[in-house]
């Protein structure tokens, strides 16, 4: 038989060549069809005279259809069209759809033979298994017999011997075929049973899985919808399976879901539609995608879903469906958001704190350095965080002291520091006085770092100094009224003295002249004193140090006060420790202090001295613990109650009527403090007072 190349095309009129060949059409463009096409285009079948004259497939874009077109074979979407091919001998059905088989069986003319799916498969496998040569013989025999059949059917069966022969050979053929069919069918059933069993097992696993899962086939129909998926979406599997409503639980409008696009392998649409849903290719399964998205219509108030879509491929790599699994991570998202919010709050707190906050890891690396810390130390947070260690802002000695404070109990319980005064090093390497509190940080019992809070004491020190100055100025302001009174007194004294002198001169009373003159001099001295006191008190001044013998200084003062003491009936006594070494001090200033104290002591004893002659003022010197010198001025005068003692140094307070400016003790204390010393008072009303003055 001669091979005839048919000339066909999609819409041509069907072949009219009358030559006898086996004209075959195939329903289904799947892999089986491709295999048949391979065989048909092979040499054997061309010699054997098989022509493929038509292919029907619902999908005109399938590979088999495309190839058929290049071979000028008739293709159609509707398998019924195949029946219109003139002189068609054989239809091979490979879709496996029993409905199609039945439909073709019903519609086809009797001369057209139908090979259904199981048979076609058998046929195909036989060809494969028995090898080309055998297949060749088989096919040839089959074709010859079929041809004879055909001829006979046209001419009538006249020759009995031919008929006999034909029947014999057919018998042999059919016996062999039957044997094979039986064997193959059993194998097929066994394997189908196995597949069914596996399918059931798989379904059982999927159905019982707590992971929501659905499967759609390549026609976009839902074929699987498990219980977890029912629970997630609120849609029952019996209302979903067999439909293409997979979009419904998730979206308001109909549209392809990710699984639909995966089945079509439409990567462009996937990228386009799912760009905002954190789409990414699965790193585990080829062709699979993962997406994360919030679905506001799911559950109460929406659900954050993690979706994984994997294509289901057959052994030839063709996509047959897609399996979709969902994971609800709303809880995780909520926790993450909450912890983010909390972290932001803490960050805000840390950043905006006026205190400096610095945290370090166990290694000493700085991991928190807020704006407060930046303001105190001069490093920007960017410079410090992750790049510096605490060693950069602490001297070695200070680092050790702080470490000891953390582990010891001097500043709070171990692991904590409460209000410790420390010095940090600024960027300009200047020591910055700070008040430091902090705590060691532990994680599961292991020390992982520390955090400290620092307050800049420079500012506090400056404010304190300013406040003291302001208090002094206010006190001076209040004192002005008192001073006016005092100055009036001095004026009275001066005028009185002038009157007394004039009167004495008029009377020629020389002793009275002397008295009046003394009065004038005393008042002039007082003007000098008060001016000096005010200057000392209102200004910060550095002592002018020189080495002074303390005992000599005391004797100077006592000599000066001798007359006044005598006038008041008070006895001056000294108890000076011998061999005291010289002490560095501002001689004039300390002299003034001692004069003030002795003068006060005499005043305190005045009444006692006048009435009983028993007023005694004792001045002592010695070396007290840790001090260069201690002066003590002891009197047995009136003494002071607590209230008066409290006011002694703070204000221009005087108990002496218009005789006191109230400046004496404040001035004394200021001078002594400028020396780095201190003044101490002990007193009992009615028993006298002791003023002690300590210098280094």
């Amino acid at each position: 038989l001669k091979v005839h190349q048919e000339m066909t095309s999609d819409n041509q009129r069907l072949d009219e060549n009358p030559m006898k060949r086996l004209r075959v059409a195939v329903i289904g463009g799947g892999p089986e069809c491709l295999a048949i096409m391979d065989m048909v285009s092979g040499e054997i079948f061309q010699q054997g005279g098989i022509s493929l004259v038509g292919i029907a497939d619902a999908n005109l874009a399938s590979e088999a259809v495309r190839r058929a077109r290049t071979m000028n074979i008739f293709t159609t979407r509707d398998y019924r069209e195949l029946l219109r091919i003139r002189d068609l001998d054989l239809i091979i059905e490979v879709t496996g759809d029993p409905e199609i088989t039945q439909d073709v069986e019903r519609l086809k003319p009797t001369r057209v033979k139908l090979v259904d799916h199981p048979f076609a498969r058998l046929f195909w496998e036989l060809a494969r298994d028995f090898g080309e040569k055998k297949a060749e013989t088989w096919i040839k025999e089959a074709v010859e017999r079929l041809e004879l059949d055909l001829e006979r059917s046209q001419e009538g069966y006249q020759d009995i011997s031919i008929k006999k022969k034909l029947e014999e050979s057919r018998k042999i053929y059919s016996e062999r075929l039957e044997g094979e069919i039986q064997k193959r069918t059993e194998e097929l059933w066994a394997s189908e049973r196995e597949i069914r069993r596996q399918k059931k097992t798989a379904e059982g696993i999927l159905s019982g899985s707590p992971i929501p899962m659905m499967v759609i086939d390549r026609n976009h129909k839902i074929i699987y919808w498990n219980r977890a998926c029912e629970k997630l979406t609120g849609y029952r599997s019996d209302e979903m399976i067999g439909t293409d409503r997979q979009w419904e639980p998730f979206y308001v409008e109909r549209g392809p879901v990710l699984a639909d696009l995966v089945i079509e392998n439409d990567t462009e649409a996937i990228e386009r539609n799912y760009r905002n849903m954190n789409i990414r290719k699965s790193s585990l399964v080829e062709g699979a995608y993962e997406a994360e998205h919030f679905f506001p219509h799911l559950g109460a108030g929406g659900i954050h879903l993690y979706t994984n879509v994997a294509p289901i491929k057959d052994d030839l790599g063709m996509i047959q469906g897609a399996i979709v699994t969902y994971q609800d991570f709303s809880e995780r998202v909520k926790l993450t958001q909450e912890s983010k919010r909390r972290e932001a709050f803490v960050q805000n707190l840390v950043q905006n704190s006026i205190d400096g906050i610095i945290a370090t890891e166990r290694t000493g690396k700085i991991i928190i350095f807020n704006r407060g810390a930046a303001g105190i130390l001069g490093y920007s947070p960017e410079e410090a965080i992750g790049r510096m260690r605490y060693q950069g802002i602490l001297s070695e000695e200070m680092a050790r002291t702080i470490r000891e404070a953390f582990y010891g109990t001097k500043y709070g319980p171990p692991g904590k520091i409460i209000n410790m005064e420390a010095e940090l090093l600024s960027k300009a390497k200047e020591p910055i006085p700070v008040r430091l509190s902090g705590t060691l940080l532990f994680e599961e019992g292991d020390e992982v770092g520390s955090v400290v809070f620092i307050q800049d004491l420079r500012e506090i020190h400056r404010l304190q100094a300013e406040k003291e100055q302001a208090l002094r100025m206010a006190a001076i302001g209040r004192a002005v009224a008192g001073l006016a009174h005092y100055i009036k007194n001095i004026l009275t004294g001066l005028k009185g003295g002038a009157y007394v002198i004039r009167s004495a001169v008029a009377k020629g009373d020389l002793p009275l002249v002397q008295k009046g003159w003394d009065m004038v001099e005393r008042n002039i001295d007082q003007v000098g004193n008060i001016v000096t006191d005010m200057l000392i008190y209102s200004k910060d001044r550095e002592p002018r140090y020189e080495l002074v013998n303390p005992n000599e200084l005391v004797m100077d003062v006592l000599t000066l006060m001798e007359d006044r003491a005598k006038l008041a009936g008070v006895t001056l006594v000294h108890e000076l420790q011998a061999d005291l070494s010289k002490v560095a001090m501002d001689r004039t200033a300390i002299h003034r202090c001692l004069l003030n104290l002795v003068s006060n002591a005499i005043d305190a004893c005045t009444l006692e001295g006048i009435i009983n002659g028993k007023g005694i003022v004792t001045v002592k010197t010695d070396r007290a613990d840790g001090w260069g010198i201690r002066f003590q001025v002891v009197d047995n005068g009136t003494g002071m109650d607590d209230d008066i003692q409290r006011k002694l140094f703070t204000d221009f307070f005087s108990t002496k009527g218009y005789k006191g400016t109230g400046l004496g003790l404040p001035v004394t204390q200021k001078i002594v403090q400028e020396h780095g010393g201190k003044v101490d008072v002990r007193s009992q009303p009615g028993e006298g007072s002791t003023f002690s003055l300590f210098l280094r």
């Binding site: 007194n489 004294g493 003295g497 009157y499 006038l567």
Partner: protein, 132 residues
Amino acid sequence: MPKKILIVDDDPDVILFLSTLLEDHGYQTITASNGRDGLRRTRSDCPDLILLDLMMPQKSGISLLSDLKRAAELKHIPVIMVTGVSGETGIGLESFFQKDRPGDDRPRPEGFIEKPVKPEKLLNLVKKTLGE
């Protein structure tokens, strides 16, 4: 018989000045340097007038005035208060004593004079107070 004037002041300078001034003008003076002493001298020496300093340690002028004016045998002795407190410094002592209320029986001095004491003014006041 010269009138006898008691000067009570803790400042010896004031005592010297006032006694010189008054003696120059024909008065006899006795002195005390505090309130307690002043009360004692009043009882023992029976002065015709008392010049009393307001501000003193121990017993203030006010306290002494109060004692004097409450003692039946002493309250007839006129008192002139000598004070540095004046309208200039914010507190007028005169107005303090003049501020009458119903039932107000606070003791009042017979006169005031401010420091620094002007001799003419004092002498006029003393004369007036003694009814001379």
